[in-house]
Amino acid sequence: MSSHPISLEGDNQAGDLSPKVARFGLGLAVVGLGVGAALGFLSNDHDGYSHFWFAYLIAFCFVLTIVLGTLFFNIIQHLVNAHWSVSVRRLSELTMANIPLLAIFALPLLVPLFSDDVELWKWAAMSAEHQGVAEMAHDVAQDAAAAPHDLATELEHVEHQHFVSHKFPFLNRNFFALRVLAYFLLWWGMARFFFRKSVAQDTAEGIAPTLSMKRVSAVAVILFAFTISFFAFDMLMSLDETWFSTIFGVYIFAGSYLSAVCWLVVMAKFLHSTGRLTKVVSDEHFHDLGKWMFAFTFFWGYIAFSQFMLIWYANIPEETHFFAARLTSSWSGWTWCLLIFHFIIPFGGLLSRHVKRNTNVLMYWAIYMLIMHWVDMYWLAMPNYQRGEVGAGNPFGAMEVLLAVGMLGVLIFGIGRKSAAQALLPLRDPLLGKCLKFKNL
């Protein structure tokens, strides 16, 4: 089979849009992150600005998971030799190319990691001042002699400390920082490879770059699976140092891919509105992206339900406290919100093919799901802020919103800058012809 020569109209270059987008993104980033940080530091909560760091981590994970989702999108399309996605693949490439940029924004997280005052990853300080059980017991005995009524609390603390200390070979400051560095290096390597090869294909005579991408994709998908899982364990799961769930990596992956597809819909729709890619990204492609949104809304629900139901049903204290905290306190509202607005409503909303083929409606759903993805991240992380303390609530305010918007601004800035140098679609991809022709059943 061979592809037919297809002439494309001149709407596939970003052109003067790039600097505009970059400027807009930069503005968002500066305002969002700047004002967000200012709000955080002005309202000192006397625990080392922990509230701010939680909000920052949520915003960071929110944007990074979108970017990782686009990286996976790229890898998997090459792996299965997909033709439908060729027209939007460059958009995902432009997004994933910002991994080094986001790595810079991971650096501030070293502060909560290495500071003894910030209570973000509580194990961090614990691992630094870790002492043997005998010493702890000795301390307790002395404390108890001084203030006998505190003995029960002290013992509980020692038990907790002992339980967590088992993990210190894995959860300690240096190894954590090293691991995160390794993830970013690997992701950067993969993103850089796929981006460069894809751009090389634009001007290549043969299809050698495509073939080499296809070959590498098989290895890349394995690397991706393990890095995103351990990234999820490190960044989010370890916020609650005693909780664990084997499915957690898959859970983060589901949200990541879902938000990536939504992001592509938003990008494609934005480019349409500027008169770009109008001949290339058709209703058929939106329909397929919409199917992915629907499928991954369902998949996310499936994974979330599996995690919840198994923990709820077995009701083992060491696991169930995660959901107990999120179902019995002021967090129960957020939990129900997640169930209804992250699963039930979009499930019904995206079911119909008419919705998926109506690009305006689909874009609203995409933006909606991106917001829900942020809620998901917030729901995972924020209940650990002041966990177990009297009066701990669910702090939500301008700071959270501004930081998330600012972090998105960083991504938009990066995309704007990257989009100038090459076309907005893989011009000479061997499957482009097939991509532009297919029709949904």
Partner: protein
């Protein structure tokens, strides 16, 4: 840079794979090839050989069931603490195999993987027979098989209802729904092909039976329109159904508090394992069958290669789950969880664990090499390995988690009895008997769907 031209006439089999129908075939020759199998006066000799063995094993199964029902479940090796022995292992094994059919029919259909057309009929038939084999085990394990209807919510004079909070009851609903939907899906796909057989029938009996089951299909386009829509809907329904069935099977284990069973990744891990074993079984069956019935043009090297890739991918998903379980067993800091996994790998059943790992994770790695994917002998052997490995996976999950329970005085080395062994062998007899009958009397390949992916099926219309 106002416009761009896509390079023409690039031909590479990695990007543009070989045609799905090989050889110099026309629409008619495809019909001839598939219908020829069931219209031949006699099946090939090898068919008789396999069928005889299968029926003999089926007889063994019947004898074992009669012995079990008249004597009691004590004839099995199940005993405390390994109360769930071989029957549940076999149940999960067969249900797992029963996943490839619907996956190929439904999920690959949604993914627009045209190559599914060559093997979907096969796989669906296999699914149904495997689910029959699977459903048999829970039914006979109750001992008093005549009261098995208690699992269904049927009003009765005892005024009792089943306990819907039990994962075992979810199983009843999941497996029976899956069986019903798979059967409908399979039969629906068969109808146009049965009409083809009907229209070619030479004998009255054929005309009657194939005519009866083809429901008077005329190939009307107005019918095709609704038919395709219904097929798409069934595919869309069957996809989450496939996920749910093996997830529910995993809930049987994971809702418990038993270390080694209670882990949240079990649902997707079981689903991946099911797809893995199902595809292995499709390969095990289709490699000899295409040879036996001369269907090499329709089940091509490309089909086999794609299935190898799926096996490699799902094998690695299973490997991912194995490693996550081990990591979490350590990370959780739970002594019992840690022990359960060390016991798995280095306890009395260490051999089962390492058979599982070598067959499921290591052996498919050979499919990184295209040469291996193209070599039918290697593919066939690996597919057998995977079948063995996946049986052992269930054995490892069930037996090693139970044999050393919380109370060391209860530790017990489980061994199957001869009844266990013969029942498992007999279930293969049931499976292959049904499969051989299917090969002989029904179109093994979805004729209308294969025609649909042939180049001559596409109208060339200027305005489209």
């Amino acid at each position: 840079m106002a416009s761009s031209v896509i390079p023409a006439s690039i031909d590479h089999e990695d990007i543009f794979p070989a045609a799905l129908v090989q050889g110099d075939n026309t629409l008619h020759s495809v019909t001839e090839m598939v219908c020829g199998v069931l219209e031949a006066p006699k099946p090939p000799k090898s068919w008789y050989v396999i069928f005889t063995i299968a029926v003999a094993l089926l007889g063994v199964l019947g004898a074992m069931i009669v012995y079990l029902v008249t004597t009691g479940v004590g004839v099995w090796g199940n005993n405390q603490p390994v109360a769930w022995g071989w029957p549940i292992v076999n149940f999960v094994f067969w249900v797992g195999i029963g996943h490839a059919g619907t996956l190929i029919s439904a999920v690959l259909f949604l993914f627009r993987q045209d190559w599914r057309t060559g093997i979907n009929r096969f796989a669906e038939a296999m699914t149904i027979f495997a689910v029959v084999c699977a459903g048999m085990f829970p039914a006979i394990h109750v001992g008093r098989i005549w009261v098995i209807w208690w699992v269904f919510p049927i009003p009765n004079q005892m005024s009792m209802w089943p306990n819907f909070r039990s994962p075992l009851l979810w199983d009843v609903f999941a497996v029976s729904t899956y069986f019903s939907v798979s059967l409908l899906f399979w039969y629906m796909g068969l109808v146009p092909d049965l009409a083809t057989v009907r229209d070619r029938a030479k004998t009255k009996a054929r005309r009657f039976w194939y005519g009866l089951f083809s429901l008077g299909w005329t190939g009307s386009n107005r019918h095709w329109h609704r038919y395709e829509r219904a097929y798409l809907i069934l595919a869309a329904l069957a996809t989450p159904l496939v996920l749910s069935v093996h997830s529910v099977v995993s809930f049987d284990f994971a809702t418990s508090q038993l270390p080694g069973w209670h882990t949240t990744i079990l649902p997707p891990y079981f689903v991946a394992g099911a797809i893995f074993s199902g595809f292995a079984m499709v390969l095990t069956l289709s490699i000899p069958a295409r040879k036996m019935f001369g269907l090499e043009d329709l089940i091509t090297a490309r089909h086999i290669e794609n299935m190898c890739k799926v096996i490699m991918a799902t094998g690695m998903m299973v490997g991912y789950a194995y490693s996550m379980e081990f990591f979490m067993a350590w990370y959780s800091g739970n002594t019992y969880e840690g022990f359960a996994f060390v016991n798995r790998a280095f306890g009395p059943y260490w051999w089962g664990y390492w058979i599982m790992v070598s067959c499921n994770v290591l052996s498919p790695q050979i499919f990184w090499f295209k040469k291996a994917r193209k070599n039918l002998y290697i593919v066939f052997i690996i597919s057998i390995f995977v079948n063995i490995g996946m049986w052992f996976e269930r054995f490892v999950i069930v037996v090693t988690s139970l044999n050393r329970d919380f109370l060391p005085s209860s530790w017990h080395y489980f061994s199957p009895t001869w009844v266990d062994v013969l029942t498992l062998m007999g279930s293969f007899g049931l499976f292959f008997t049904l499969f051989m009958l299917f090969c002989r009397y029904l179109p093994q390949i979805a004729i209308s769907e294969v025609k649909n992916v042939m180049p001559q099926a596409h109208p060339h219309l200027d305005n489209h």
